[in-house]
Amino acid sequence: MARSAPLAILSVLWGSVVAWADEGGELIQDRCLGCHSGARAAGDFDAVQLLERAHDGTLTIQDRAAWSRVVDRLRARDMPPREEEDRPTEAMYQAMTGWAATRLPESPPASGLRRLTRHEYARCVEAIFGVQLDAERVLPPDEIGDGFDNNVDMQTMSPLLLERLLDAAEHVAMQAVDGGPQGASTWRTQLTARQAASPTASLHAEVMRILQAAWRRPADPTDADRMLRAARGALGSEATDLDMLRFAITAALSSPRFLFRLESPAPHDDAFERASRLSFLLWGTGPDEALLQAAAQGRLDSRQGLQATAAAMLADPRSRTMADRFGEQWLQLDRLLEHEPDPKRFPGTDRKARRTLIQDTTGMLHQTLVANRPLADLVAGSPDQPGLTMQRSVLMATSHPTRTSPVKRGKWVLEVLLDQPPPPAPPGVPSLERSSEGTQGLSVRQVMERHRSDPDCAACHRTMDGYGLAMERLDAVGNARERDGDAAIDDSAELPDGTTIRGTDQLAAWLSRQPAVRRSFVRHLMTYALGRSLRRADQAQVDAIVAGLGPTAGARDCLMQVVLSPAFSGLSEPAGSPAESIGGLP
């Protein structure tokens, strides 16, 4: 390959560094430093020293952001710029991306001690005591990391949160024992039945039962003793059994053994921890008695056993929680709760209605998982169920209050379905309305075309807008329309790969053929299942899983591979056997 003049000079200056250990790094030097070096480096990004450190393996955490962008741009194949005549081949890109990705500096794995998210907390107390808790009202929000609220890297226990958790525990204890607006709690009903069946049943046994459920493993009798002693001490000798139980429930739910998911350091070797992970992933709550029993019997200790259990759990209606919590966040629908379409123009889109729309979409995801249908079906939809890009929830969440936003829709397709987040807009970027005069009466599309005629904007928007423009026939709340402003709708679009399409049907069909959708699903699912930002080793597992999935692989197949992955299950892969291919040849 031809070297440009500045690079030749650089090579001289850089005599010691030109001999790269392998091809990827050399390619980056050849292909990137021509522009990205020196005081007048393109985009103000002088990569010389960064690349030198990458080569030496001395990139630091401080370099992480800059180097991530290098990896991202290479992964997106949009550097070197698409206008360049001598573009790297796909093989070259793979070599460069692979080399760059393995040099990304990693922080040491964060603490694995995870606390329950507010949603998990509410699901747990509901499962154990039958008490309904509105988590979003009662507890402060969890911080989101890499798209999910269960990211352990972001978790803290603020004084406010701890205080709210105690309030919640007291509230739950009261509701469990004394009943709430819905009458007696299921737990109280069962307690009464247990006492009727066996009048001598002791308080101690009941506390043991509570501790086992709340602490997600067999209880130790001395724990129950301690708790009862403390209750007696606090409440005095006149306290009734029910007073004592209220205290025990409050204490059990405030204990770190409930609030944190205690796991031994990797490699995981504890079947109860595995049961807990599985249960929080699939049901959003702690394991029930049957699952704890399966763990005790060793049924989660083999890949076959784990897979069978997971499949049975997915078939259980409780798995809807996973579709809701994972789906809402993967599909970025949670923002719909805060997003209010202009009520004058779009009546009937209040918070409750928007909540229902979210559930329609996550319900569809649930069906896809349970029936093990291919992800392509989720994207393409069926005659009686619009595909993801035609779901009202998605269309609304990616619009402005008053109008559509092809940019937001395009960005959504890139981030959610193709897992290729576009680079962020540069500072001081002119907004769509920049050219103030003469945009009146123009369609969103026409205004955007003006915007894109600015070469500064064109490069990025070309990778995003096509998807959004193809969706223009559906307005800011997902209603079909024929006109936008004074203009008839034009929903033709050119996609970044050069394909020209028209309308949402053709877009959905195109998307449903993209293998990237499967990768995106698995990558997001892995992040959610592990509950942390993915490290390099995790990315490698994602790659391995995706490589083993064929075009007809179903959504459940993807989920099962995540469950079986060593990072999640703590079980090693069967020795010597190549990754099994699922759903036809890749």
Binding site: S111, G145, S158, P427
Partner: protein, 442 residues
């Protein structure tokens, strides 16, 4: 659009369920002073955060216009022009890209009170710095029931990232108790009320509840200690957070017993869901004043919106999102809407100052004992610049002597103001963030 709702004290008192002036406004001061045996009433500190910058040309003071001339967008503060200093020239260098590319909103939020350049990440390695309010709380917070109070108008949490690869926690929090620990904020007035005054309804039951809670906390402490030993180091550190929280709560229960009965005088209960942004703000303002007044805390941070907020202020006739509008590209209609939002925020802030000045304490008002900062980490929302930050300093607490417009040399670190406020509230520090010394002239 020009017909904005006027600030009406009556209406919001009705919102609080009281038709007359709040009871604690008249009667509390002598009791509080006696109970806490203070020679001087304490100094209070509050930071009120403006998201998305402002329309700077009409917000920043015009040096030619005279020392007491308010800029057009600060006109609502006219009644308090002798109680405020409008500062220009402050900058947050660490909110700039510094090689990290876009993400000015996230950096504005994370840097505003920390002065630290946050790590660009959407998850792992998440890090900013300890904020000025938390530094103050670390020293003087133990004197009150709550070391500090964190409030906001919008909840956090949203999937995807909030700003160009930055985790949402950066734009949703201005208060940080550790570099990797934002202090979560409360957005529901009723929840704030419960936290501050919830025990007032049935004092006897409340006392029993506190006693039981202490036993529960003792048990929790034992549990945590038992587990602590078996954990890996990083996990044990995380459990420390829990242990610290338990200790804080125990401390609070103890302090509560010592609060004088007069300081527990009933505070009206706010409604569960405020109907409008205006009412929501006013309820929060009432609660902040009540918290100061009863000395539940002396330090408050309050976000009028999360940084980058795209709220549509429909109650003043604005249908598009705030953030969207700030990128007006010189479109006069959009600029006008941004101005209206800025004016609206100034008017609400004036309502907060009015409450503080109406609350008598000793021979002055609560405003005389307070240092209130109104400001943001972005100057002009359209330009995303971090110099010429919009900052108003109100009150005479800590010896402040408000004096109209104060023009500082360009690029004076915002942290110089933070360092000065720390000194005034009794925290001796040589440096804070990128400070170069205490600000002069306030």
């Amino acid at each position: 659009m020009n017909d904005l709702p006027k600030f009406h004290r009556r209406t919001l008192l009705k919102g609080l369920g009281a038709g007359v002036a709040l009871p604690w406004l008249e009667s509390l001061t002598p009791a509080v002073r006696a109970a806490t045996a203070l020679a001087e009433p304490p100094t209070r500190l509050a930071f009120v955060f403006l998201p998305n910058g402002v329309h700077a040309p009409d917000w920043l003071p015009d040096p030619a216009a005279g020392r007491h001339a308010l800029s057009p967008l600060l006109e609502p503060l006219t009644p308090f022009r002798r109680d405020i200093t409008v500062i220009s020239g402050l900058a947050h260098h660490n909110a700039r890209a510094l090689g990290d590319g876009p993400g000015d909103h996230a950096r504005s939020g994370a840097c505003f009170l920390t002065g630290v350049h946050p790590t660009k990440t959407s998850g792992a390695d998440f890090r900013a710095g300890v904020s000025v309010d938390q530094v103050a709380a670390g020293t003087i917070g133990s004197r009150t029931m709550l070391p500090s109070l964190e409030l906001g108008m919008e909840g956090g949490g949203r999937s995807g990232n909030c700003d160009s690869g930055y985790a949402c926690a950066y734009s949703g929090n201005i208060s940080w108790r550790a570099p990797d620990k934002p202090t979560s904020k409360e957005t529901r007035p009723r929840a704030v009320f419960e936290r501050l005054f919830g025990d007032q309804r049935d004092p006897k039951a409340a006392a029993q509840r506190r006693a039981t809670r202490r036993s529960v906390l003792d048990l929790c402490m034992d549990e945590a200690r038992a587990i602590h030993g078996s954990l890996a180091r990083a996990d044990a550190e995380r459990l420390q957070d829990y242990l610290q929280g338990v200790r804080d709560l125990e401390h609070r229960l103890e302090r509560y017993e010592r609060i004088d009965a007069a300081a527990r005088e009933p505070v009206p209960e706010p409604p569960e869901s405020p109907a409008t942004y205006h009412e929501h703000f006013d309820l929060m303002a009432d609660l902040m004043v009540a918290a100061f007044r009863t000395d539940r805390t002396r330090i408050v941070t309050f976000m009028m919106g999360n940084e980058g907020s795209n709220r549509a202020y429909r109650e003043i006739g604005i249908r598009d999102g705030h953030h969207h509008l700030t990128h007006h590209g010189d479109n006069p209609e959009m600029i006008e809407q941004v101005r209206q939002i800025n004016l609206y925020h100034a008017r609400l802030f004036a309502g907060f100052l009015e409450r503080l000045s109406a609350a008598r304490e000793g021979d002055g008002s609560l405003l005389d004992r307070s240092m209130i900062v109104l400001g943001g980490g972005i100057s002009d929302g359209n330009r995303h610049n971090h110099e010429q930050l919009p900052v108003v300093l109100a009150g005479r607490g800590g010896g402040l002597s408000p004096g109209g417009n104060l023009v500082l040399p360009a690029e004076t670190p915002m942290c110089n103001l933070h360092l000065d406020l720390l000194a005034r509230i009794g925290v001796q520090a040589d440096r804070f963030g990128d400070s170069t010394g205490r600000i002069g002239g306030v």
